[in-house]
């Protein structure tokens, strides 16, 4: 399963706001092979979007800095490459789509022009060829009457259609990597199903590797080959979709899954995770989940490494496997 040279190899990515003691995103590592879909799942503030933005070189102009780490993608380190190298890469070999298509589209420009612009930014081709490519892309994302839609403005489209346009734009230059940050969160469920379907099919057709950032474990089960569960800036568990869902090891993964009501049947009272996430300017030094964890002990005041538990499965918990933990052993760990 492990390709000798993955498409994307992220190692030790840390992101910090100047002046804080602990990094916001801490030592994040993962690999992605061509054609694979990795889902990064976690709640607000876990650093999943920051990770994506850092990979695309989009932290410029924010108080956030990549402190350490490398991200090798087709021979280029995304984290240290010069801005013009990244500009040449973005929208071409690596593309990104966002949650809210309306704020990512230019409201004053016809959608055909916007897609053509994305093509012409990277390829020296005539206007009508770019427009033809735009029409072709709208067809590929299954927009009905694509030829006519080219001349419409974003406000004339529904939310689902706008997200299709974003996908068309992102895929117009056949990228090797597509990062999608909560692409369906703003959409209704029936429209979400259409978009997920589309992304799965396009992924299979084009071989584009995808990183999908989501908070929805249902979307993860549906889309991912591999999963990384993030909590407060760290990956706490990573593995194949089957490993993470069928053999969840980290207490946070278990808590997150227990917190979700089931569509399919009665489960009684929801088993929750107590408390709330640590504040970004006051991250604990040790295990960042310890203050909320039912399995915490004094040992958890030291940060647990993301240690392998079988092939491809890794867990950052001192007490994994939890079967060996005796209840009553728990100690309060200061937040």
């Amino acid at each position: 399963m492990t390709d000798p040279s993955p498409l994307l190899d992220v190692r030790g990515l840390s992101i910090r706001v100047a002046g804080t003691a602990e990094p916001l995103v801490d030592n994040v590592s993962f690999t992605l092979n061509a054609g694979e879909t990795l889902c990064i799942v976690g709640e607000s503030g876990c650093g999943k979007s920051l990770t994506a933005l850092a990979l695309m070189g989009l932290l410029e102009g924010t108080p956030l800095r990549v402190e350490r780490g490398s991200a090798m993608f087709q021979g280029i380190d995304l984290l240290s490459a010069a801005p013009d190298v990244l500009r040449g890469l973005r929208g071409d070999r690596a593309a990104m789509i966002f949650q809210e298509p309306m704020t990512s589209l230019n409201p004053a420009l016809r959608i055909g022009e916007q897609i053509a612009e994305a093509v012409r930014a990277h390829r020296d081709i005539p206007r009508d060829a770019a427009r033809a490519r735009a029409a072709e892309m709208l067809q590929r994302v299954r927009i009905p009457a694509a030829g006519k839609r080219l001349d419409e403005y974003p406000h004339q489209l529904s939310g689902g259609m706008r997200q299709r346009v974003m996908i068309a734009m992102a895929l117009a230059n056949d990228p090797a990597l597509l990062i999608a940050d909560e692409p369906t969160t703003a959409l209704d469920v029936t429209i979400q199903a259409q978009i997920l379907d589309l992304m799965r099919n396009l992924g299979a057709e084009t071989g584009t590797a995808q990183i999908m950032i989501t908070h929805d474990l249902g979307v993860v089960a549906e889309m991912a080959d591999k999963v990384a569960v993030m909590y407060a800036g760290r990956i706490v568990e990573a593995g194949t979709t089957a490993q993470v869902f069928d053999d969840p090891q980290h207490p946070y993964t278990l808590g997150l899954m227990s917190s979700m009501p089931s569509l399919a049947g009665d489960q009684g009272r929801l088993v929750t995770i107590p408390g709330s996430v640590p504040s970004p300017d006051d991250m604990p030094r040790g295990c960042r989940f310890a203050a909320r964890c039912p399995f915490a002990t004094a040992q958890c005041e030291a940060p647990p490494p993301l240690a392998p538990r079988g092939t491809g499965h890794a867990v950052a918990c001192w007490h994994a496997p939890l079967e060996d933990f005796a209840v009553g052993q728990r100690r309060e760990v200061p937040a």
Partner: protein
């Protein structure tokens, strides 16, 4: 055997969305001829996608807005005819929890003042009594009495939603309407708030009307579910039955679209192509016929009434009896035994942790 606490009859609400200088205004029929009964002590959920009229319906039921046609009967009176003191008395008994805990709390008032405000408006109790009541309410929603002196911005989203709940409960309402009360919250915080709502409902004997688009949350908290499409109720029934055996094609499509977080689960299916039609010009006949995979000629011409083909189930579909539709069942979300055991470990340790914490501090609910 169960009593009806609130009933809507033929509710219609139209909004004027565009008024040209000349010519006819554009009218949206947000709620079209909705009748339903809310039972004493139940949790009734109203589900549907954006623009289906579910929030408008909730506002009509509590008379936050007036219906264009139809009536809402509470007790023995039509609440549309109430005014002045009678309306104020009604407000005491029906309260609302809003979706966005950031915009629904006045940032310049302390939490204590916010929760006390409904008590002051309704002139309930003396000042010291009200303060004691605020402290009690804060404890009920899992916050601490000393939080009363703080301002909303000092709290997280989940805590603010608890404040919103405490405020809604201050006057001792009989009916609480929640418009997407947990959908702005993260999963782990959502679960805490869902548990609080359920506990309080039990403890105070409330009737809950919950508007939501998250069907898993709905399945968990509600006794009965009403499914809306383009301003109409297309199906209404017992939550467990309706999810297991939907009778309306739209309900089936909604259920099929939801990704289930388990590896052995069925893949979500795209049963509906395209977007919902424009509510300004809804299709004739059955409003769902343009997207319905089972539509026949009759559906284009004839509007199906909300019928009662079997006890405890209402459905607005000409062919409800002929169709055999697929729902969701427990087997779809089944987990392997090893995972099941680990979840049991978590649950056990979690309970032990809650026990240890209650010993140390007084408040019962987790923060």
């Amino acid at each position: 055997m169960t009593q009806t606490i609130l009933s809507a009859r033929g509710l219609v609400r139209r909004f004027i969305t565009g008024k040209p200088l000349f010519g006819a205004p554009t009218v949206v029929q947000a709620v079209n001829d909705v009748s339903l009964e809310v039972r004493q002590g139940e949790t009734l959920a109203i589900v549907g996608e954006s623009g289906c009229g579910k929030s408008t319906l909730a506002r009509l039921l509590t008379r936050l807005i007036d219906p264009t046609e139809g009536s809402v009967i509470y007790g023995d009176r039509d609440i549309a005819s109430l005014s002045g003191t009678e309306l104020r008395a009604l407000r005491r008994e029906m309260q609302f929890i809003f979706q966005d805990p950031f915009s629904s709390l006045n940032p310049r008032m302390t939490v204590g003042a916010l929760i006390e405000e409904p008590l002051r408006i309704h002139r309930l109790g003396t000042a010291p009594e009200r303060r004691a009541k605020v402290a009690g309410l804060l404890r009920k929603v899992g916050l601490r009495p000393e939080h009363a002196d703080r301002y909303p911005h000092e709290f997280s989203g989940g805590q603010r939603q608890r404040i919103g709940i405490a405020r809604a409960l201050a006057t001792g309402p009989k009916i609480v309407v929640g418009d997407e009360p947990v959908s702005a919250l993260d999963v782990s915080i959502q679960a805490q708030v869902v548990n609080i709502l359920e506990d309080l409902k039990e403890e105070l004997g409330l009737t809950l009307i919950i508007i939501a688009h998250d069907l898993a949350v709905i399945r968990h908290i509600s006794d009965r579910v009403a499914v809306m499409y383009l301003g109409e109720i297309v199906e209404l029934g017992d939550a467990a039955d309706l999810f297991a055996t939907p009778a309306h094609p739209y309900t089936e499509a909604l259920l099929s679209a939801i990704p289930i977080p388990a590896t052995g689960a069925r893949k979500a299916r795209t049963m509906l192509e395209g977007d919902p039609p424009n509510p300004i010009a809804p299709p004739p006949g059955c409003r769902f016929h343009t997207r319905c995979p089972y539509a026949q000629a009759k559906c284009r011409d004839e509007r199906p009434e909300l019928r009662t083909p079997s006890p405890d189930r209402q459905v607005a579909c000409h062919f409800a009896e002929q169709l055999s539709l697929t729902g969701v069942n427990a087997a779809m979300a089944a987990r392997p035994d090893a995972a099941q055991r680990r979840f049991a470990l978590y649950s056990h340790a979690r309970a032990a942790m809650a026990g240890a914490q209650t010993d140390k501090t007084k408040p019962t609910t987790e923060e």
